[in-house]
């Protein structure tokens, strides 16, 4: 009997526990809660029933995928996972060649009925294939880590070409996290951190003018209130004026007056804050907290290396999205394109997030 790659990844120093097949209801419920809430918020922010309905259709589609994948056996998918990077790379190249028309950036591929954002797919495929790659044999050499790193950088570069700074940050994270969790030695990690610090000035000069402007705005929001600072200033007014209980659903004057840019996608947190206040925001934090906690629990309880790395990476990427998006709309981080998971409008992002949850749930089988 031949041994399949992922068999090596069993850490035999932990006792094998019983197989679980039931779904983690906490996870499923919190995800469902967030997505449905998101649809209502999208309607409030955009006043477009069409947009809300569209998101609803994506939710049904994504949730079916979630259930389907969560009952699949990840052991049987290992080959597929290992090579999943390549189709991702294909779409990422394709979008630069045939981007959907009428946009300034080359982020979407137009399939007629719907558009599709390859970078969102990539930030999900990289952890999957990296985790599989770094668990495929008993000895992982530094060369393997380097391979993952280089392939990640290629993908990041392609995303930067679109240009999409926000997602490219996530793409880097999605490749780096498996390397770090996989066991790269601290010597290399410190070396990497040191290099990044040194290259910061170079990075600054390679940014686009509007991106630099956003960073300057962050440190000096009053400098250009009617230009780059407008969005953040308006977003802060929206959040602050929400107070403890908020102004009520569909009653946020900031959002309804179109003061908030991209209120249905990246800035949806401002709309939530304005209409539901501190109470709403705290509830949102609690649901997100519960979700992340339950996801990480799967990772910590697992003794399979692949499953451990993958579920930890995917959960942490979700966490990264949440924390960066929120910090951005409250003016703690510069504005980059980054949606709030499950809540922001965006079909590809929603489906990928739901599939992510599905994969993590499928890993529970062997905890």
């Amino acid at each position: 009997m031949s041994r399949k790659p992922l068999d090596y990844s069993l850490n035999l120093d932990i006792e094998t526990s019983k197989r679980k097949t039931s779904l983690d209801l906490w996870i499923v419920l919190s995800v469902l809660c967030l997505s449905v809430f998101g649809i209502f918020m999208i309607y409030s922010a955009s006043q477009s029933l069409e947009m809300a309905l569209r998101q609803g259709i994506y939710l049904v589609l994504g949730f079916s995928l979630l259930l389907l994948i969560s009952f699949s056996n990840f052991r049987k998918m290992e080959l597929f996972y290992l090579y999943s990077y390549w189709p991702g790379l294909f779409f990422l190249t394709l979008v630069l060649i045939i981007p959907s028309e009428g946009n300034e950036t080359k982020r979407w591929i137009d399939f007629g009925l719907f558009t599709f954002q390859p970078s969102e797919l990539m930030r999900f495929l990289i952890p999957v294939s990296a985790a599989a790659f770094l668990s495929r044999k008993p000895m992982i050499s530094n060369f393997d880590y380097l391979t993952v790193f280089i392939l990640t950088m290629i993908a990041t570069y392609l995303v930067l070409l679109q240009p999409d700074l926000g997602t490219s940050i996530i793409v880097i994270l999605s490749g780096i996290l498996p390397i770090l969790l996989g066991g790269l030695s601290w010597t290399f990690i410190s070396f990497g951190v040191f290099t990044v610090l040194l290259s910061l000035p170079v990075l600054w000069f390679s940014l686009f003018e509007y991106q630099k402007q956003r960073i300057i705005t962050l440190f000096n929001p009053e400098a250009d209130i009617y230009g780059a600072g407008w969005n953040i200033a308006q977003s802060k007014i929206a959040i602050g004026s929400g107070g403890i209980f908020g102004k009520g659903y569909l009653n946020g004057s900031q959002s309804q007056l179109n003061f908030i840019p991209e209120s249905h996608s990246d800035f949806i947190f401002s709309v939530i804050s304005e209409e539901f206040g501190l109470v709403g925001v705290t509830s949102l934090f609690i649901v997100y907290g519960l979700l992340i906690y339950r996801l990480l629990l799967i990772s910590t309880n697992h003794q399979n290396r692949f499953a451990k790395i993958l579920s930890a990476t995917l959960s942490m990427i979700l966490l990264a999205y949440i924390s960066i998006n929120i910090c951005m709309v409250i003016g703690l981080l510069p504005v980059v394109g980054m949606p709030l998971p499950f809540v922001s409008q965006g079909g590809t992002a929603l489906i990928i997030n739901l599939v992510t949850i599905g994969i993590i749930l499928s890993l529970r089988r062997e905890t």
Binding site: N103, I140, L180, I239, G242, S253, N258, M316, I322, L332
Partner: protein, 598 residues
């Protein structure tokens, strides 16, 4: 050995917790900031959100102007005052509307209809234009009553003015509001949803340039929507000005010639492709659309003579005898016949095995004709003969090189005409190609159709040494010259082009030429007449009977160029149901060339 490079499960766990720390710190800071904004600074922000609303509003740019080749203005803007309202600041809609109707004197029902229709389209707190182009009296009364009219603003906007109205109307085109479908197809239009954009003609074709870039105005408004202060302006960028190749004086003069007639004219420089006049008759005054004159628009849309249709680029006609020079040229190129070879024309042409005669237009025929005489007198039998010998498989590819059957890419709504061949007929009609089809094509009848623009380009190629030029209607955009391109058609023997030109001169200058009526020794013109049959003559039906129905009368065509020594202009004239190319169409061509030479 096993798993040396592997971290144990415990170590992975440690790392997971380690890397969670930065996110944790971020979230703690985020929550502190949220508490700060929502509790400690809440009052400040509530005031900011409620009392003084700083609004970011669009400022529309003036549309680019359009000039003629000599810098005379053809399309202008003037400023008008519009009434813009924000329904959220109005307490009682029906009270407001009746007050407004009282002040402005506008019909209350119409106001109501417009109001509720627009209301259903906008988002809360958005504003829209309720009345356009207020007059002085209305403005004065509105100012007096401004304290009673919350949510109302008078905002200047630009109104389009096509200076010469009808004469250039079908060329210039009109403005209107972008439809949902337009916006879906072109997201750049999203910001222009309450603004007119080009929907037809030059206004549409060059809309992207004429439109300009939207600016923004940040103004402070009170709770009733009244502007307290303008804080900052991000200026709009004016649309680009177009300089057309049209000579507006020539255009106006020639348009008069079409009074009461349906037809089209194209005047083009054969060497540069610059179009000096483009007429489609009947035409219309685009300002009816630009100023939303509903009654006039209704009449225009229901007019059976379709004035909105630009016949010069979209009208498809049988080229009739104006195609003969090209058939002659292929015959010379293919050596089917030589320049001086004669054919006996007795008025009829027979194909073996077919009793039906192909008749020439002149009963009894033209006698013995060579190519020069055949073109000058427009002998049909001569061309039946050579077309029969050539066959469609050498005629169609040749005509294709001269631009027949394809768009010249000047306008997107240009027609392509029809250049038939065996494959076309099988595909479109489901029938095989008959010899008779080729014979009809020899005199420009049958399936072949061409637009006036295509005929003008083909003739330009005949006289400029065989270059198929790309036509141009815009000389420059904001001073930046438009590119010119042309494609050399491979002609086996350049001498053949000279022969054809000689024949075209004979059309006007020989005693028996069909257009000898326009001969002028001081300004020599050459050209070719054409009479396009609208309905094919059936033997037993009398010609006179057909004539009685005006819409079945033949179209009159003339293509001319001059001066013969160094042609500066090619002019195509089609007068629908005008019957005589030489008497109706040719004099207009002559006037065009005479005027242009001055």
């Amino acid at each position: 050995m096993k798993g040396k490079q592997f971290l144990s499960g415990q170590s992975i766990l440690k790392r997971i917790f380690l890397f969670l720390i930065p996110f944790g710190i971020l979230l703690i800071f985020a929550f502190l900031q949220i508490l700060n904004l929502m509790i400690f600074q809440s009052e400040k922000f509530k005031t900011q959100a409620d009392t003084n609303r700083v609004l970011k509003e669009k400022v529309f740019p003036p549309r680019g102007l359009i000039y003629d080749t000599k810098g005379r203005i053809i399309v202008d803007n003037f400023i008008r005052q519009d009434l813009v309202i924000t329904p959220n600041f109005i307490n009682d809609y029906s009270k407001y509307l009746s007050l407004l109707s009282e002040i402005t004197g506008e019909d209350e029902n119409i106001l109501e209809n417009v109001f509720y229709e627009k209301l259903s389209e906008i988002k809360p707190f958005q504003s829209f234009t309720l009345l356009r182009g207020l007059n002085d009296e209305q403005l004065a009364k509105l100012k007096l009553n401004s304290s009673n009219l919350a949510g109302t603003e008078i905002i200047p906007s630009f109104s389009r003015n096509v200076v010469y109205g009808e004469s250039s109307g079908s060329l210039i085109g009109y403005l209107g509001f972008a439809s949902r479908k337009d916006i879906l197809n072109n997201p750049n239009l999203k910001n222009f949803n309450d603004q007119q954009i080009g929907l037809l003609g030059i206004e549409k074709e060059f809309d992207e340039h004429l439109r300009g870039t939207i600016g923004y105005r940040f103004s402070e408004k009170d709770a009733k929507g009244r502007v307290l202060d303008v804080l900052a302006i991000e200026p709009s960028i004016k649309g680009k000005n177009l300089k057309l190749s049209i000579d507006i004086e020539l255009q106006n003069k020639l348009y008069k010639e079409f009074e009461g007639r349906k037809g089209a004219l194209i005047a083009i420089e054969p060497d540069t492709g610059l179009i000096r006049a483009m007429i489609s008759s009947p035409s219309y005054d685009p300002d009816h659309f630009n100023n939303l004159n509903v009654e006039k628009i209704k009449t225009l849309l229901s007019n059976k003579n379709s004035p909105l249709f630009n016949r010069a680029i979209s009208g498809q006609y049988p080229p009739a005898s104006t195609l003969k020079p090209f058939i002659g040229l292929v015959a010379l190129e293919e050596k089917v016949i030589s320049w001086r070879d004669k054919i006996l024309d007795e008025g009829e042409f027979f194909v073996e095995g077919d009793e039906r005669p192909y008749r020439g237009w002149k009963e009894g025929g033209h006698g013995e004709v060579d190519m020069e005489k055949a073109i000058a007198e427009s002998s049909d039998v001569y061309f039946y003969n050579i077309a029969f010998d050539l066959t469609v498989s050498s005629i169609s590819p040749f005509l294709d090189k001269f631009g027949f059957g394809k768009s010249s890419q000047l306008f997107k709504n240009e027609s392509e005409g029809i250049l038939p061949d065996q494959k076309w007929k099988l595909g479109q009609k489901g029938e095989f190609w008959f010899k008779g089809d080729t014979i009809n094509m020899g005199i420009g009848q049958g399936y072949i159709l061409a637009t006036p623009l295509q005929i003008a380009l083909a003739y330009s190629a005949l006289i400029n040494g065989g270059k198929l030029i790309s036509p141009r209607i815009v000389e420059s955009i904001d001073g930046e010259e438009e590119k010119f391109s042309s494609k050399q058609i491979d002609i086996k023997n350049k001498k053949n082009l000279d022969y054809i030109q000689e024949a075209l001169i004979s059309v006007v200058e020989s005693d028996t030429g069909t257009a000898k009526n326009i001969f002028n020794p001081k300004l020599r013109i050459a050209g070719k007449t054409g009479t396009a049959q609208v309905k094919s003559l059936i033997d037993d039906k009398k010609y006179q009977e057909i004539r009685e129905n005006i819409s079945l009368r033949d179209h009159a065509l003339f293509v001319g160029y001059g001066p013969v020594e160094d042609p500066s202009l090619v002019v195509v004239v089609i007068v629908e149901n005008g019957e005589s190319g030489s008497l109706v169409a040719a004099p207009i061509v002559k006037k065009a060339i005479d005027f242009y030479q001055k």
